[in-house]
């Protein structure tokens, strides 16, 4: 769906497309779009005739699509000296004597003549290249020139101002400012918002949104029983204060930070980075203001008297992939890392795709190649992150900090080291004892050799034949090894010591990757065509010219860049950030292209709401929790989502917000939810990554890397998805099936697919099978004497929060009863199914088997994996 202000334009486009379709169908085989257009029946008259034309909204998209590649900001590609993206350039007299645009005079504007010409040699754009300009678009450009050809700046580069609240007819509905903007739009479309969601559904929705976990049955009951006016707001407050809030909201941030536990590429070895993840969780729980949150991650190391925590925060940009493949060109890989840092920074804080400017001036957006390398210069002063290792290997190195250890860990290590010392001593004594007996032993050996054919190794026989004082080192070694090998106690002790060494290694102090500046900064050059082997002009660190100026107090370093990004004058950062959050709650952003606020991105559906939220966020002290609170307490958010098919047909993407959000949960939350409702979930927060069960043979990376996957012990198997080890070459498979990325590069929004692999995962992944058994056992354990319907109701409420309706209850009861009846006479089937799964005391295995069916059904429901 188009933005509100461009709705009419979209109608035109659709009509045009239909025209194309007809033409295409008539002419089979390859054809150019021009040929198609020639046969295109004239599209309907537009309804635009009278309206004022807005360059940024109406004209720029057309010119950007069809003209800017050759007549835009990119100097290298510019044809005929013509530049159409700026008024001063577009209205200048060209070599030909003509002017592309003569304001108020479309008739003498060369641009109009060219795009409207029927002569293929004259017509622009050239037929064989970019998309043609449709007749409606031609008229639009004509009228824009007629109206003065005013170039207004692209909306997102203009600093947002807090807009007044719009007038609404229904004064009762709005609960906060958000609702005025939403309702005004709905009223203009003659639509009414949906009623508020029923309380159990609403509670589950807000739990999943704020802490990523479902409410317990007790929490639902308490909420249902609380009739005070602010019951919901108090729940929201407690969820915002919950330590699980940070876990929930770290997930999308870590996608942006492309945070993973391995290097990526060939030899996808592991790195210690979990302290950064824990820093993100803690910062979010503390509601660290977003400006500080930014500064610490981009430049925490450069803050005066940087704390350990501030240094750990800089792990954000150490999360880049690194290639330690043996033949890697170090400098090339270093530049790839730098490019990633610049591009990710642009995407996360500016909602801007800077990548194009790596090789040439941006074709659509006002960012030059120089801008790109000036930004890159801020990052170009960190030490190397790989170095040549033994032989052909390369090693992943670079700045680290050592993490503080708990005293028990220190003690344990000290104790093991002590123990090892003792064993070493014992070993030395044993060896000395054995060697003391060497002459006697040798004599015995020689006798054996002399006697007859022996099966002693030839090397030993040969060595023994040599006089002791003239033996080579190798010969001495052969004899000695053989002697010692005859003492099993020595071998045993050695094995024991190796085991100790491993345990000690595992207890070594842990580290985190951090950013650090070198004493001598590197010089940064513009790279011709983005090639690191083709350095051009040298540049100093600096920010894109189109945006606000950077404050530098003598330094131009990452800290000045970080501060610049979160200055109140930055027109983008507030909008980009609140828009991403909005998309987490509602499934899509107010600007649908979360990753692109440039001229090629979509325009906001509710521009005033976006600006209002952005200003509220920045002026209100950059509080994430405050914005989240606003959103979840709005009437907009609290609407029902179960409103029937008609609403979905009218507004499939819920762009107008005439119903509440309904979205499939993300990969980690689906698993967290299943573990939570079945009672398996470990609530532990933080620490090194864990390895839950996964199928055999998932890790099979090339090269000198350990591919053993040892499943974690105890509750670590049931930790939240946030803590599951993330190997870039093969992430946790059930997460992949639910659209988790590989985290090799910045991901702004995960897709939400709906596939049979997801069904197979929920039905058969041993993790979900175990959860289904645990859920069944939980129901039977907690309702030991209850009737089937009470158990079914409880199971249902565990999974979905709400009460089942009669039909749902009936189905679950009949499954339980029928399966019980089937299994009652078939003990073999019961054993086959329940083997290895714990049956609660006093419960017949037949019951467990039957309730496993019920539990599996519940865990597989669309509603269970959906926030609705």
């Amino acid at each position: 769906m188009p933005s509100p202000r461009s709705a009419k334009k979209a109608v035109v486009t659709v009509v045009t497309r239909r025209g194309l379709l007809v033409a295409t169908f008539a002419i089979s085989g390859p054809l150019s779009f021009c040929a198609a257009l020639a046969e295109n029946p004239r599209s309907q008259e537009t309804r635009l005739e009278a309206a004022a034309v807005d360059y940024d909204r109406d004209v720029r998209p057309v010119l950007a699509r069809s003209c800017f590649a050759c007549h835009g900001p990119d100097e290298q590609q510019r044809q005929a000296g013509l530049r159409l993206d700026r008024q001063d350039a577009a209205t200048v007299k060209l070599d030909s004597g003509a002017r592309a645009i003569l304001p108020e005079n479309p008739g003498t504007s060369e641009l109009v003549a060219r795009i409207e010409s029927d002569d293929a040699d004259v017509r622009m754009p050239p037929p064989e290249t970019t998309p043609v300009i449709s007749p409606d678009e031609q008229r639009l450009i004509r009228r824009w020139i007629e109206q003065g050809a005013i170039y207004n700046e692209h909306w997102s580069y203009v600093q947002p101002q807090r807009p007044p609240l719009p007038q609404v007819r229904d004064r009762e509905w709005p609960r906060n400012e958000i609702d005025y903007f939403i309702l005004a739009r709905l009223e203009s479309e003659s639509l009414a918002p949906a009623p508020e969601a029923d309380r159990a559904r609403l509670l589950r929705r807000v739990y999943l949104d704020l802490v990523g976990l479902p409410p317990s049955v007790e929490e639902v009951d308490r909420f249902l029983a609380d009739s005070s006016a602010d019951a919901y707001e108090r729940v929201v407050g407690s969820l915002l204060d919950s330590p699980h809030y940070g876990e929930r909201w770290a997930r999308p941030w870590l996608d942006l930070a492309r945070h993973a536990d391995s290097n990526g590429y060939q030899r996808d070895g592991f790195r210690d980075v979990w302290a950064y993840r824990d820093w993100v969780v803690a910062a979010m729980n503390l509601d660290m203001p977003f400006d500080q949150f930014t500064i610490e991650q981009l430049a925490g190391d450069l803050l005066p008297d940087a704390t350990l925590s501030q240094r750990i925060a800089t792990g954000f940009h150490r999360s880049t992939t690194v290639n330690v493949e043996a033949g890697t060109d170090q400098e090339e890989d270093r530049f790839n890392t730098l490019f990633d840092r610049v591009n990710t920074t642009g995407t996360v804080w500016l909602g801007t795709t800077l990548e194009c400017a790596q090789c040439h001036d941006h074709k659509y957006d006002p960012f030059g190649q120089r801008d790109y390398y000036r930004l890159l210069a801020y990052f170009n002063n960190s030490p190397l992150e790989t170095e040549a290792g033994d032989g052909s290997r390369r090693e992943f190195v670079g700045p680290k900090v050592t993490l503080p250890e708990p005293p028990e860990r220190q003690q344990e290590r000290a104790q093991l080291v002590q123990q090892r010392k003792g064993e070493k001593q014992r070993l030395d004594e044993m060896i000395a004892g054995a060697l003391a007996e060497q002459p006697a032993w040798e004599a015995q050996m020689v006798a054996v050799v002399g006697e007859a054919e022996t099966n002693l190794p030839p090397a030993l026989v040969a060595a023994l034949a040599v006089e002791p004082d003239v033996r080579t080192g190798q010969q001495q070694k052969v004899i000695r090894d053989h002697l010692l090998a005859e003492r099993p106690e020595i071998g045993k002790l050695r094995t024991e010591m190796e085991r100790l060494d491993k345990r000690i290694a595992a207890l070594e102090p842990q580290t985190a990757l951090v950013m650090q500046e070198m004493a001598e900064p590197r010089t940064t050059h513009v790279l011709e065509r983005g090639e690191f082997l083709s350095p051009g002009e040298a540049v100093r660190p600096g920010v894109p010219e189109i945006l606000h100026a950077v404050q530098e107090d003598g330094h131009a370093d990452r800290l000045s860049l970080a501060r610049w990004l979160v200055e109140a004058e930055n027109p983008l950062v507030g909008r980009v950030t609140v828009n991403r959050w909005w998309a987490e709650f509602f499934g899509r952003g107010l600007v649908r292209t979360l990753e692109d606020f440039g001229t090629q991105g979509e325009r906001p559906t509710h521009p005033d709401l976006l600006d209002w939220l952005a200003v509220e966020f920045v002026e209100g002290g950059w509080s994430r929790k405050a914005i989240h609170r606003l959103i979840v307490t709005s009437a907009t958010y609290r609407q029902r989502s179960n409103v029937g098919a008609e609403s979905h047909e009218r507004d499939p993407h819920n762009e107008l917000y005439a119903r509440g959000p309904r979205l499939r949960l993300d990969a980690e939350t689906i698993r967290d939810n299943a573990l939570a409702v079945s009672g398996l979930l470990s609530p532990a927060i933080g620490g090194p990554p864990v390895k839950p069960r996964q199928p055999e043979g998932i890790w099979r990376v090339t090269g000198v890397v350990d591919n053993t996957y040892t499943v974690s012990n105890g509750e670590d198997r049931y930790r939240r998805g946030l803590y599951v080890i993330w190997r870039r070459s093969s992430p946790y498979p059930s997460f992949v099936n639910f659209d988790a990325p590989d985290r090799a590069s910045c991901v702004v929004q995960r897709p939400r697919t709906n596939t049979p692999l997801q069904a197979l995962t929920l039905l058969n992944d041993p993790v979900y099978v175990e959860a289904a058994f645990a859920l069944a056992a939980r129901v039977l354990r907690e309702c030991p004497d209850d009737a089937t319907s009470a158990r079914a109701r409880y199971a249902f409420r565990l999974c979905l929060g709400r009460e089942p309706n009669d039909r749902e209850l009936l189905l679950l009861c009949s499954v339980a009863n029928e399966e019980s009846a089937r299994y009652a006479d078939d003990h073999q089937a019961v054993r086959a199914l329940t083997k290895g799964h714990e049956c609660p005391a006093g419960i017949a295995p037949v019951e467990l088997a039957a309730w496993f069916h019920v539990a599996t059904i519940l865990l597989n429901l669309d509603e269970t994996i959906t926030k609705g």
């Binding site: 295409t24 290639n323 033949g327 790839n336 795709t353 499939r664 697919t753 709906n754």
Partner: protein, 471 residues
């Protein structure tokens, strides 16, 4: 062309395994594509997504991981043999970067013989006796070149057209463009032998395309598709009853909520249930007659390249659009004269059998078979004379194609007498991609996806169809 929109919400309604000819699947799929294609799709069955008449409908794409030496297999260079052991002419290597080679570089001639094969008389190494038998089907490109010279980045470049992570793979682009022709199987299936290639799962990842287009790895050990098997104690009947229960409750939700996403989920559970039968049947090669096993050198029950070739045939028989085989172990920095024959023994017979088998079944006309690697090997020696090897070489190496729309028994391009640089018809990886898409009836310039404000293509801003390989 009107801009195509990357709409996550719409995409979420799209099934992993879409039909092409008719029904909702086709509409959902083709709504992604430009209107011209939509019209073609709804107007005539079987032509969804094509910009013009396809020569091939399906692809079996074999990637030899580690990069086999073209100089031992496809490039007969008598001059290199003649000058074996001599220093490299300075002008060839001035300013060049190598992964490993340092110091004075010496030429290395092959120890293998080349033979003219078939009626076409194209030359192949005597290490490829079986492929020599089907030489008249092959079009060998001798001048392909790439931009990366380390394994993982070069693998990414070969598969995604970009040397770093984040872009969709060729197979994903094809799945996105053309969909699947089988209701019960994915459009894009990946089979591996040996370790996973350095760049990992991203080689068949969907990048910014919807994840429904990613390659699905079928495995020779354990479940052929992850989580395909029921838990122990759950048989087909029990599974059916469980799925029935899920479906009944989901249908009730659909009525109450009205979200078509629920309808899709209901369909996907049915498809998952069908896959539990169709995939094991597909993967069970033991029912193939003994002569087929012999022809391929297949050995049911064990993972092998030969088994994967046989599976590839079974997959294309069932309409899977893009089948990709990876085989690791071709990185011969040392021991090239022992390593190459060993690896050839593993792949030569099955590949030749695959081509012959496809032909005998009338499938070769519709199936494009491709051999590629991430790069080639240097004409220079790496290591010493004891442990002879070759380094990575990005400037000229060989790929070949056979089958649908390919002019068999041809070679394209020529390198200098040492096999270092192309001197005639250089072919960039993007040209190779453009050609594969072309054979599938897709214009590489028009297969685009809007992301981050830009229309992305597999071939970025390059790509020329290599006309000389076209029949």
């Amino acid at each position: 062309m009107p801009p195509r929109q990357s709409d996550h919400v719409t995409l979420s309604r799209r099934a992993l395994f879409q039909r092409t000819g008719s029904g909702m699947g086709a509409l959902a799929l083709t709504s992604l594509l430009e209107p011209a294609i939509l019209q073609a799709a709804t107007g005539a069955a079987g032509t969804a997504g094509h910009h013009f008449m396809p020569q091939a409908k399906q692809v079996i794409y074999v990637h030899l991981v580690g990069a086999p030496s073209q100089l031992e297999l496809f490039e007969n260079k008598p001059a290199l043999v003649k000058h074996d052991g001599e220093p490299v002419p300075e002008e060839l290597v001035a300013g060049q970067r190598f992964a490993f080679l340092r110091g004075e570089l010496k030429l290395l001639g092959t120890q293998f013989k080349f033979r003219k094969c078939g009626q076409s008389g194209i030359e192949l190494s005597d290490r490829l006796p079986h492929l020599s038998g089907v030489a008249d089907e092959l079009a060998i490109i001798k001048t392909i070149h790439t931009e990366e010279f380390n394994h993982a980045p070069a693998q990414l470049f070969m598969q995604t057209g970009f040397g770093r992570f984040g872009r969709p793979s060729l197979g994903s682009w094809v799945s996105y463009g053309l969909g699947s022709e089988n209701d019960d199987l994915p459009a894009y299936v990946v089979l591996l032998t040996g370790a996973t290639a350095g760049a990992g799962n991203s080689l068949w990842g969907s990048g910014f395309l919807p994840t429904t287009h990613q390659g699905i790895q079928f495995r020779s050990e354990g479940d052929p598709v992850l989580f395909l098997s029921n838990p122990s104690g759950i048989g087909t009947e029990q599974r059916r009853r469980i799925v029935d229960g899920i479906q009944e409750l989901n249908r009730a939700q659909l009525v109450d909520v009205g979200d078509p996403e629920i309808a899709t989920r209901i369909d996907q559970y049915e498809l998952a249930y069908r896959m539990q039968t169709s995939v094991p049947e597909l993967m069970d090669i033991s029912r193939e007659p003994a002569w087929v096993h012999r022809a391929y050198g297949a050995n049911p029950g064990k993972g092998s390249f030969a088994n994967n070739c046989l599976l590839a045939r079974r997959l294309v028989e069932r309409g899977v659009r893009f089948v990709q085989l990876y085989d690791s172990g071709w990185d011969h920095h040392g021991g090239v004269f022992t390593g190459i024959p060993n690896k050839c023994k593993q792949v030569d017979r099955p590949l030749a059998a695959l081509i012959a088998d496809l032909k005998a079944r009338g499938l070769l006309d519709d199936t494009l078979v491709v051999w590629s690697s991430e790069f080639g090997r240097t004409p220079m020696l790496q290591g010493d004379r004891e442990k002879v090897g070759r380094d990575h070489h990005k400037d000229a190496f060989c790929v070949w194609m056979a089958g649908g729309g390919v002019r068999g028994g041809t070679t394209v391009g020529q390198t200098d007498e040492l096999g270092y640089y192309p001197i005639e018809d250089p072919v960039h990886v993007r040209d190779f991609h453009a050609t594969i898409l072309h054979l599938l009836g897709v214009d590489h310039r028009r297969l685009t996806f809007k992301y981050q404000g830009r229309q992305f293509r597999l071939t970025d801003i390059g790509g020329e169809v290599v006309r000389k390989v076209l029949a």
